[in-house]
Symmetry: C2
Subunit: 155 residues, 2 copies
């Protein structure tokens, strides 16, 4: 593949990742910064470089970086004698994805448990359905722990 085409495709991918992340609740600027840090060959961007690369105001970048850091999506490193922060995307996202799924599952489980608990008639259509869903999700959440262990030992 030609160098210029590769770059074009990378830029395209950044936009796509941006949209994906917006669907997960990230704001537009933040979402595209994630894409930038994942896709480009340059692996550490300073604040200024991001501002320049994305053609966006300093304040927007400042906010976005703060949010992304709080959410644990990105991190920064510093170098002695250099006041700039070098942002990069965090390393251990694999674990992160497992845990995200599991957390969400657990949260949903708890909600469903509460719904069932508050039902007047435990044999009603919805109560029965919800119990089924609960069972399925619980099974899955339990198995995830095994999978995590299996994967880690396999490494």
């Amino acid at each position: 593949m030609e160098e210029s085409e590769r770059l074009r495709k990378q830029k395209e991918l950044i936009e796509y990742i941006g949209i994906q992340h917006q669907r997960e609740g990230y704001q537009p600027v933040a979402a595209r910064i994630v894409g930038l840090l994942m896709v480009m060959d340059k692996e550490e961007y300073t604040f200024e470089e991001i501002v320049e690369e994305m053609q966006i105001s300093k304040s927007a970048v400042s906010m976005a970086l703060k949010n992304l850091e709080i959410r644990g999506m990105i991190e920064y490193v510093t170098y002695p004698g250099d006041r700039k922060r070098y942002f990069r995307f965090v390393s251990n996202r694999a674990d992160g994805i497992f845990n995200e799924i599991q957390d969400k599952l657990k949260q949903n489980l708890e909600t469903i448990r509460q719904i069932i608990e508050l039902k007047k008639d435990p044999a009603s259509r919805n109560a029965v359905f919800l119990k089924n869903i609960y069972k399925g999700m619980e099974f899955f959440a339990r198995k995830m722990d095994d999978l995590k262990r299996e994967y880690n030992s396999q490494q």
Copy 2:
């Protein structure tokens, strides 16, 4: 638990489920309708009843119901000699949740594959990290099929 307290808690739970679903990209009204249909003891609501219960305009309800139906979150039944539609939440969400997770996982896998493919240096920090993430997610996606089969046979 007292009847009135149960009702209060149910209403609270509807709001909470509303917020949870908004995080998944549902609009406010739609999100709370899902809550309503999951939580309340009454299991089938007509259009009118929803309008009344939620104190919301007909147009907002009309739009929300349409969206929820398209997304497969709710369905309606009708009864002979009755022009009204009776909305309820769909029954087989357990499968749905499995599949949602798996679909998202597959989509992410494809994106990551593309990022890696476009990297100039396959030994760079990010390329290596991404390959790791890829491996983890792939392992997990593969195992999910097994889990589904295991669960279904167990039933």
